[in-house]
């Protein structure tokens, strides 16, 4: 698990702390302070304030809870105060602070010498396009996840076709996902259930197989007759063949084929969905881990 520990380290080096926030807000006021104050006194002050605040809230909770026996308006105030205090802790620590911090996470630049590649992690072109809206609208998340668990706890990473290496037997597991893999997405579709395969790195599986992907969306049973995936026929247009026919027409076998003289062509939305699924390659090289995956560094 070297990968994630290094990733976590780089993550903490980002300017996302509360202190940095005030630093930015107060301009270069802090830069004039002596180093001792900057590096020791201010962090210390921060912790003192946090601990004092925590003790204060705790004392109010204890007071309010012991107060709850009595009744009337006074009781009501104490009761609501106790509810507020007990709920505020998870609300701030688990939800609000991580959400605000996440707003300040951004892509990390690769170090050419260390990583052997240039650019950013995650790359700017990894952003999900319009196809993600179609993916959400059709509720794909109900059956497909986009999250690979670490190899120590689950077999996700070892599955055939889980990552870039599509050989019968990949030399190693695919890495599990980090926060930055989903950067730029308004909401990560980690998924509800796995009634179908994980799609984290599905882009690799369908490279050069775009027509297969369309077949799967239009009529999943063409590929596997036991499939429980719905046929999204409304994303495709059945139309009369004109001239030599469309180059994009689906090659449907036997009973799935339309009437003679007709062809099935993907609509713009089907193309967007296919683009989105083909773009799913969430195994970008994590800065500082090039040694671990030598074949990627060669690229």
């Amino acid at each position: 698990m070297n990968e994630t520990s290094i990733a976590d380290k780089t993550l903490t080096e980002q300017p996302i702390g509360l202190l940095d926030f005030f630093k930015n807000a107060l301009g270069d006021f802090f830069s004039h302070l002596p180093d001792v104050i900057q590096n020791v006194a201010l962090p210390l002050l921060k912790w003192v304030i946090l601990i004092a605040l925590g003790l204060f809230i705790l004392s109010r909770v204890v007071k309010a809870i012991t107060h709850v026996g009595t009744h009337g308006t006074q009781h009501f105030r104490g009761f609501v105060l106790a509810l507020t205090a007990t709920f505020a802790a998870p609300l701030f620590l688990l939800i609000i602070i991580p959400a605000l911090k996440h707003q300040h996470i951004h892509a990390i630049a690769y170090d050419k010498e260390r990583d052997g590649v240039e650019g950013f992690y995650p790359p700017a072109d990894a952003k999900a396009g319009l196809g993600q809206t179609v993916y959400a609208r059709e509720g794909c998340v109900q059956c497909h996840t986009q999250m690979i668990r670490p190899a120590q706890i689950a077999l996700d990473a070892w599955r055939h076709g889980a990552g870039e290496n599509q050989d019968a037997r990949a030399p190693g597991p695919v890495r599990s996902n980090t926060l930055r893999d989903y950067l730029g997405e308004p909401y990560a579709f980690l998924g509800v259930q796995r009634n179908g395969p994980d799609l984290t790195n599905a882009g690799y599986r369908f490279t050069d197989k775009r027509s297969d992907l369309h077949l799967h969306i239009y009529a999943p049973k063409v590929l596997n007759d036991w499939s429980n995936a719905p046929a999204y026929k409304h994303l495709y247009e059945v139309r009369q063949i004109q001239g030599a026919g469309s180059a994009k027409a689906l090659k449907l076998p036997g009973k799935f084929a339309p009437k003679a003289g007709f062809e099935v062509v993907p609509t713009a939305e089907a193309e967007q969905l296919a683009d989105y699924i083909l773009s799913l390659k969430k195994d970008f090289l994590i800065p500082g881990t090039a040694v671990a995956s030598t074949d990627k560094a060669k690229k």
């Binding site: 809870i65 007990t86 939800i95 609208r137 689950a154 509800v192 036991w226 046929a231």
Partner: protein
């Protein structure tokens, strides 16, 4: 703190008149909520059958609007927002008014208006999900414009409930169930605003957003459905058995432990995922720790009911509430199983998750709500339930239906998890997952069909009652072999 005094000797005539006045003042809003909720429950059940069938026969009724990806969220939305929260508000309103001995002096029309707004919100969200507005944020799949509508309607009710509590006439005794319900009315808007604001208006949250969504689901269950269900059980179990709550201390501990732990869980759904490891870690811990407050409550309920089990067989309200109270610790055990890192990995992303949602919202909460409805509606409608057989039907089909759904979901979850984790399948397709769970999903569809059968009769029965077509009698409708006309002993206690 004194335990509740529920013995019927203390009921004077003036008390009875006051109760009747409170009931009269609440009739409109509460019956409105119950009736609409029952309709949504029907809708949710139909969608539940359909969703399960879709997993096995994806081509059945295949059209743009009826794929599994849309039906499943619509099914859950109808269950949670249409039925669960709506019926919860109805029960809360009545219970807090009764418990605090406060009449609803005016504003019934406004409350019904808020009820209408809530139903418009639910309609918009389900139509939105089915007709192309699905956002795929679990439990918040409705289009973004729906949430202020739902929030406004909820606050309309929560405000009245809280102010009734703040102006309680009754200063003696133990306000336990009212405390639970006011807690629920306080927590839900907060959770709802936080999740909706973060997910719809902050943007760019990536995987943290998904974590917040999981937190939202668990918080709605633990901080709305649990307190309303437990609050109602704490009211009706002592009331109908005629025994006071066994231990006020246990009850108080149960409440405050729930308040402290409830908001921390949820992110364990993504163990091994991209979230910072402490977030699922805390969730796992709380998911397991929740067994303590749940166990305290269950133990307290058990001790309160001890020696009065005959009433469970006889009173429909107590029978439903009692089974709800039994499903409560069972759902907590299931939560611990899917939360703990040891067993949770195997259950992650399987049908067990669906099983947990159903046992929490249907097995536990809805059974308590049914119990409350069987108690409240005769008092508001002024007539008694028509048929013992219909109630019996409703009860047994619900219990067996929910039991079957949950067992099938958990077992198919084990099957699914094992198929995913089987090293033999490293090069395989998803054939094992799909085929291995197929039988259980067929069973799930059949179980929903049983529940559908029970709910059709429940709805008809409720509508007849609301229309005032119930039995005109001074004796309530009781179950069991006893001839209820000749044995009014429980009747007096239950009527109080």
């Amino acid at each position: 703190m004194q335990p509740v005094a529920t013995n019927s000797e203390s009921d004077s005539n003036a008390d009875n008149l006051r109760r009747a006045a409170i009931d009269r003042s609440l009739k409109g809003p509460v019956l409105f909520l119950f009736t609409n909720a029952a309709f949504w429950l029907m809708a949710s059940t139909v969608l539940g059958v359909l969703a399960a069938l879709k997993l096995v026969l994806p081509d059945f009724l295949n059209c743009e609007y009826l794929t599994y990806g849309r039906i499943q969220p619509a099914h859950i939305a109808a269950l949670v927002y249409g039925w669960g929260i709506q019926v919860g508000l109805g029960v809360s309103l009545w219970l807090v008014a009764r418990r605090c001995a406060v009449e609803l002096k005016s504003g019934q029309g406004t409350l019904i208006l808020f009820g209408v707004i809530w139903n418009i919100g639910v309609t918009l969200s389900i139509a939105g999900i089915l007709f192309g507005g699905n956002t795929s944020k679990e439990w918040l799949e409705f289009p973004a414009y729906v949430w202020p509508v739902l929030l406004m309607a909820f606050l309309g009710f929560a405000w009245r409930i809280a102010s009734m509590y703040a102006h309680a006439q009754r200063t003696e005794g133990f306000m336990l169930s009212a405390q639970y319900i006011v807690g629920a009315c306080f927590w839900f808007p907060w959770v709802f605003i936080t999740a909706n604001y973060a997910l719809n208006h902050m943007g760019n949250l990536g995987a943290i957003g998904t974590g917040i969504d999981a937190w939202y689901i668990h918080s709605v269950i633990l901080l709305f459905f649990v307190p309303v269900g437990v609050g109602s059980a704490y009211y009706f179990i002592p009331k109908i058995t005629g025994q006071s709550i066994h231990s006020a201390q246990l009850a108080n501990m149960g409440f405050w432990m729930l308040a402290i732990l409830g908001g921390w869980s949820g992110m364990q759904r993504f163990i091994g995922g991209p979230l910072p490891a402490w977030m699922p870690g805390v969730g796992s811990m709380v998911g397991v720790l929740m067994m303590i407050p749940v166990g305290l409550v269950a133990w307290n309920h058990h001790l309160t009911t001890l020696g009065a089990h005959r009433q469970v067989a006889v009173s429909p309200a107590l029978r439903f509430t009692f089974f709800g109270a039994i499903f409560y610790p069972v759902s907590s055990i299931l939560l611990a199983l899917i939360s703990s890192p040891v067993t949770g990995i195997g259950f992650q992303f399987t049908h067990a998750w669906y099983g947990f949602q159903i046992i929490a919202v249907y097995g536990f909460f809805s059974m308590c709500a049914f119990g409350a409805i069987y108690y409240i509606v005769p008092r508001l409608a002024g007539c008694e339930w028509l048929s013992v057989r219909l109630i019996n039907n409703h009860f047994w089909f619900s219990v067996y239906g929910v039991g079957a759904i949950v067992i099938m979901s958990v077992v198919s979850g084990m099957q699914q998890g094992a198929a995913m984790e089987n090293p033999e399948n490293w090069n395989g397709t998803w054939y094992d997952v799909v085929m291995g769970t197929r039988g259980y999903i067929v069973a799930r569809a059949m179980a929903w069909a049983l529940i559908l059968w029970s709910n059709v009769w429940f709805l008809i029965h409720l509508l007849l009652m609301v229309a005032g077509l119930g039995r005109r009698s001074s004796a309530p409708t009781l179950l069991g072999h006893d001839d209820h006309e000749t044995e009014p002993t429980i009747a007096e206690g239950a009527k109080a």
